[in-house]
C-alpha cells in the first residue's frame, strides 16, 4: 500500500493556478524524483504535502491518515485544527532549499530541539540522540557550532539531521543543493544517497540528473502544475515520450540549470516568487 497518496490536488495563488488536479502516490521506501522548469509547481507540491501551504482542494493521505479534509475534486480544502496539523506534520521531514537552520542555536541544538520541545524527551536524551544523528552524518565535530560558522553543505546536512530527528515516515527535499556552491553539492548528495539506501521514503525536487538516475526509483516531470510524464529515470531521461520533457532535459543538459541562464539565484527568485505569494 502506498505510504503517501495524493489525489485531485489543486492550488492557486490569487488568479494564478499553480497545481491542477494533480495525483501521485509513493510506496514505502521509494525515492521519487520531481523535475520541471521554474514555476511548474514542484515547490508548491512539496509545500502542500507538508501543509506549509493549504491546497484549495484534493486529498493527501499519509500512511492511512488524511491531512485536512478535502474529499473529492469538487470540495474545498478544510485544514486540520492547528494542534492536529502540528502532530501530523512532524511525521514528514522537510529539507529547504535555503537550509533555514535556526540561527540562534548550535548544530546540536538544531537537531535536539524538536525531540525535546515537540516530542517532550528529557534534555539529556534529546541531546544524546542528536549527537548520534550528527555523527552518523559525519558532523560530530561541528555539533557545537552555530549555523553561521558552517559551510552551506554542512548546514544542509545539519538540516537533514534536524528533519530526521523527528523520525519521519517521509522526507521531502526542495532543491536541496541548488543554493550551494558547486563544490559543496556532493557531500549533500552523498548524505541523501545514504539515507535512500537506509530505506527512507523520499520525494526529491532536484535538477541533479546524475543523482536522479542513480538513486531515483521513479521520476516525475512537471510542467504548468501538471504531471506531464513519469517513469523510471533511465527511461525518461534517455527516451522521453513528451516533447516538453525532451525540451526541458535538453536545456538542462546544455546549461546545467533549467530556464534561467543566470543560475540558481534567479531560479530561486522565480520559483519562490510564484510559490510563496501567500
Amino acid at each position: 500500500m502506498a505510504i503517501l497518496q495524493v489525489e485531485h490536488l489543486s492550488k492557486s495563488f490569487g488568479t494564478t493556478a499553480v497545481l491542477h488536479d494533480l495525483a501521485l502516490s509513493v510506496e514505502k521506501g521509494e525515492i521519487l524524483i520531481v523535475i520541471g522548469p521554474s514555476g511548474s509547481g514542484k515547490t508548491t507540491l512539496l509545500r502542500c504535502i507538508h501543509c506549509l501551504e493549504h491546497p484549495d482542494r484534493g486529498t493527501i493521505v499519509l500512511d492511512g491518515v488524511p491531512f485536512g479534509s478535502g474529499d473529492g475534486p469538487g470540495r474545498a480544502w478544510r485544514p486540520d485544527p492547528p494542534r492536529v496539523l502540528d502532530a501530523k506534520r512532524r511525521r514528514v521531514g522537510f529539507v529547504f532549499q535555503r537550509f533555514n537552520l535556526f540561527a540562534n542555536l548550535t548544530a546540536l541544538d538544531n537537531v535536539s530541539i524538536g525531540p525535546r520541545r515537540v516530542l517532550g524527551l528529557p534534555a539529556a536524551e534529546a541531546r544524546a540522540r542528536a549527537a548520534a544523528l550528527l555523527s552518523r552524518l559525519g558532523l560530530a565535530e561541528h555539533a557545537a557550532k552555530l549555523p553561521s560558522q558552517l559551510s552551506g553543505g554542512q548546514q544542509q546536512r545539519v538540516a537533514i539531521a534536524r528533519a530526521l530527528s523527528m523520525d519521519p515516515l517521509l522526507m521531502l527535499f526542495d532543491e536541496p543543493t541548488s543554493a550551494l556552491d558547486p563544490e559543496l553539492v556532493d557531500e549533500v548528495l552523498q548524505t541523501m544517497r545514504e539515507l535512500a539506501r537506509s530505506g527512507m521514503t523520499m520525494i526529491v525536487v532536484t535538477h541533479e540528473l546524475d543523482f536522479a538516475r542513480e538513486v531515483g526509483d521513479r521520476v516525475l516531470f512537471m510542467d504548468g502544475g501538471r504531471v506531464v510524464e513519469s517513469g523510471r529515470p533511465a527511461e525518461v531521461f534517455s527516451q522521453p515520450r513528451e516533447e516538453r520533457t525532451r525540451m526541458f532535459l535538453r536545456r538542462l543538459l546544455r546549461t546545467g540549470a533549467p530556464h534561467h541562464p543566470t543560475g540558481h539565484e534567479a531560479a530561486h527568485k522565480i520559483d519562490t516568487g510564484a510559490d510563496r505569494r501567500a
Partner: protein, 217 residues
C-alpha cells in the same frame, strides 16, 4: 565668573535628584519593556482585534506629546477621584509612552526575521507559539538591543519633563537650586553632566549585554 564652589555645594542635592531620576526611569523602563513586548507580540499575532488595539495605542502614543500624556495622568485622573502622586504619575506616563515605541521596535524586529525560520520550526511540528518562544523571540532580542537602547536613553532623558509636575527629579532639583542662587549656567551645566553620566552608564550596560550575554550569530 564660573562658580565651581557653588556647583560643589549643590552636588548632594542634585545627586538626590539624580537618584529620583534613576528610580523613575528604571521602573518606567521595566514597565515599558513588559508593555512593549506584549503589544509587539500582539501586533504580529494573527488576531485581528489585538492588532487593531495595538495599532490604535501606538498611534495615540506617537501622535500626542509626552508632556500632555504626563498632564493627563497627573492632573487629569484626579477628576475621576484617582490621585496619583508625582513619582508614580511619572512611572506610569513614561512607561505607557515608552511601551508604545517599544512595541514598534519589537514588531519590526520580529518581522525582520526570515520567514524560513518559522517554516522550519513548523516543519518539525512546533506550534506557532513554540516557534515564537524558542526561535523568533531569542533572535529578536539580540536584534532589538541597539534600537531599544536608544529608546531607553530617550526615556531617561524625557524624565526631565516630570519637572513640570514638580517631581523631585534631577532637572527640577536644579531649578530649585537656581531659584535660590540665581546661577542658571553653573547649575544647568552640572545637571547636564549628571545626565551625561547616567546615559553613559546605560549605554555601556547595553553594549556589554549585546556582546557578553548574547553570542554572536
Amino acid at each position: 565668573m564660573f562658580d565651581f564652589a557653588l556647583i560643589l555645594e549643590s552636588v548632594p542635592f542634585l545627586a538626590r535628584g539624580a537618584v529620583y531620576t534613576v528610580e523613575v526611569s528604571v521602573l518606567a523602563i521595566v514597565f515599558g519593556l513588559v508593555l512593549g513586548w506584549i503589544l509587539g507580540l500582539a501586533a504580529v499575532s494573527g488576531v485581528g482585534w489585538l492588532r487593531a488595539i495595538t495599532w490604535a495605542y501606538v498611534q495615540f502614543i506617537r501622535g500626542t506629546p509626552l508632556l500632555v500624556q504626563i498632564f493627563l495622568i497627573y492632573f487629569g485622573l484626579p477628576a475621576f477621584g484617582i490621585d496619583v502622586p508625582a513619582f508614580w504619575s511619572g512611572v506610569i506616563a513614561l512607561g505607557l509612552n515608552s511601551g508604545g515605541f517599544q512595541a514598534e521596535i519589537v514588531r519590526a524586529g520580529i518581522e525582520s526575521i526570515d520567514r524560513g525560520q518559522t517554516e522550519a520550526a513548523r516543519s518539525i511540528g512546533m506550534s506557532a507559539f513554540q516557534a515564537l518562544v524558542f526561535i523568533l523571540v531569542p533572535q529578536t532580542i539580540r536584534r532589538v538591543i541597539p534600537p531599544l537602547t536608544n529608546e531607553l536613553i530617550t526615556l531617561t532623558k524625557s524624565s526631565s519633563l516630570l519637572s513640570a509636575i514638580a517631581a523631585l527629579e534631577l532637572t527640577h532639583a536644579g531649578q530649585l537650586i537656581i531659584a535660590r542662587t540665581f546661577a542658571p549656567f553653573e547649575i544647568y551645566a552640572a545637571v547636564a553632566v549628571m545626565y551625561l553620566i547616567l546615559i553613559a552608564i546605560l549605554s555601556r550596560g547595553s553594549a556589554l549585554l549585546e556582546r557578553r550575554v548574547f553570542v554572536n550569530y
